[in-house]
Amino acid sequence: MSFVPLTPAEAAAMLARVGVSSVDDLFEVIPAAVRFPALDLPPGQSELTVSREVRGLAAQDRPTGELACFLGAGAYHHYIPSAVGALANRAEFATSYTPYQPEISQGTLQATFEFQSLVCDLFELDVANASVYDGATALAEAVLMAERLTRRERVVLAGSVHPEYRSVVETYVAERGTELVLGEVAATDGALREADVAALLDERTACCVVQQPSFFGGIADFSALRQACDRVGALLVMVCNPIALGLLKSPGAWGADIAVAEGQPLGVPMSFGGPWVGLMATRERYVRQMPGRIVGAARDAQGRRGYVLTLQAREQHIRREKATSNVCTNEALLALHATIYLSLLGPTGLRQVAENCYQYAHYAAAQIARLPGYAVLTPEPYFHEFVVRCPLPPEELNRRLLADGILGGLPLGRFFPELADCALLCCTEMNTRAEIDKLVAALAAA
């Protein structure tokens, strides 16, 4: 099956019109020695056969829907209302192209404008772009943006920023001479504590990056840090969780200059890591340094309101080597998922999800803290994740939990060797009291 409609008769007619006797003639310019290689691939198959084989692969997996999931750490198992997929997967959205011809793309353009508006409302910042690849690259782009705005080359990251986000930032700044300074995190006196990143700021600092809730689940007060940034003229960059923002104070209210987030929790399937959607917003005065596509409102000659890609002169297809970034594609379809999700939930629904996450996590943590041999290291306040010190290696614990149909928390040794006996657990609205009680019983028995 190749979905090619061309019949032999049509091909013959076209070849005649082009003036060649066979299609091969059109490839004469390809060097003969390498032309028409035999590809060692299985021959094409019918949809029936291929779907059977691919289903067979999927059947080997154990997805979160079949397990009691306590795994988070940047990817979250949330409920996706059925209307999200039903609408976002409409072919008029899914098979349309980037809206460079606005007259026939108002669906995508208006939905994107709505996405930008929702992100601004959630973050309480002035302007958002049409999305970037994911939360981690959004952070990398935010760091580059801060460097451009301040013309400085030093970046301070809190130790509780997601380690993989930090890793992506490192890749993006690798050749630029950026000095990356990392705050310290340590488990002392039975609690995870962070050294104050404000102490690391100086006049060469372009920005300070913090995460709320932190990688370990904690919620912090950033008033003092905002003042510390002001004293040295550094920007404050915040990595957020959009579900938590149903409850917690926004980055705009904290005075952040740039805020980024992973939008996967907003109605996007986890899908083994992607595609997801990066959210990015900033203050109005920085908008021309913000990368990515942006949609603006406009009117036509008859006074009708419409939406159009704007401020394109910042982008690669015009600015080329002077562009704010090389990004071309955004995550339009996933941004649409997020837009529909937020439209359905509204402020009440989003707060309900956030509160459910908060309450189930606190219930779970309270039960686990009472188990001999276990300790909860994330101090209050925290949102929906917390670190647990375990009496056995967490990987071994997780193997036993899996046999009971439970997906345990993330063993932290891969990121923090000093926390190799700890796991990061997460609860969402998808967990039930019964599941949590079963988890606690399994932990007690291990």
Binding site: R288, Q312, A313, R314, I318, R319, K322
Partner: protein, 130 residues
């Protein structure tokens, strides 16, 4: 008509001497090529600019161009009105659409720029290439 009271750079900027200072802007050819100017980023008062070095950016809907200073010196004034309403740059590139005023290190530098006739030739050569 390309004004004869000033000099021109190969990057389509003009420089006009006015009381010991130099007023700088872009040419009619440049504004026409760009289309409607939507945004312009200029140096600040007190900044140093250098001849033929980038001093800012000018953007239209479909293009963005670097601005190159035609003289070396200190910026003493910036046309905030043109920044606020960039249409002035399209409508009146040689007059209301001026961009910056510079206290030049040396007025002799302007000798390295083109006269109006030389600039017109430069533009029409470009036209022939296209």
């Amino acid at each position: 008509m390309t004004p004869e009271d000033r000099r021109y750079s190969s990057e389509h900027e003009w420089a006009r001497v006015d009381g010991g200072e130099v007023v700088v802007g872009i040419t009619d050819f440049a504004q026409n090529q760009l289309g409607d100017v939507v945004y312009v980023e200029l140096p600040r008062v007190g900044d140093q600019v250098k001849q033929m070095k980038v001093m800012g950016v000018i953007e239209s809907v479909k293009a963005a161009s670097d601005l190159y200073s035609p003289v070396t010196g200190e910026v003493v004034a910036v046309n905030d009105a043109a920044v606020a309403e960039p249409q002035a740059i399209n409508d009146s590139p040689y007059d209301r659409g001026w961009l910056i005023r510079v206290r030049p290190d040396s007025l002799d530098e302007l000798n390295g720029l083109m006269s109006a006739q030389e600039y017109d030739l430069h533009v029409s050569d470009r036209g022939a290439e296209e």
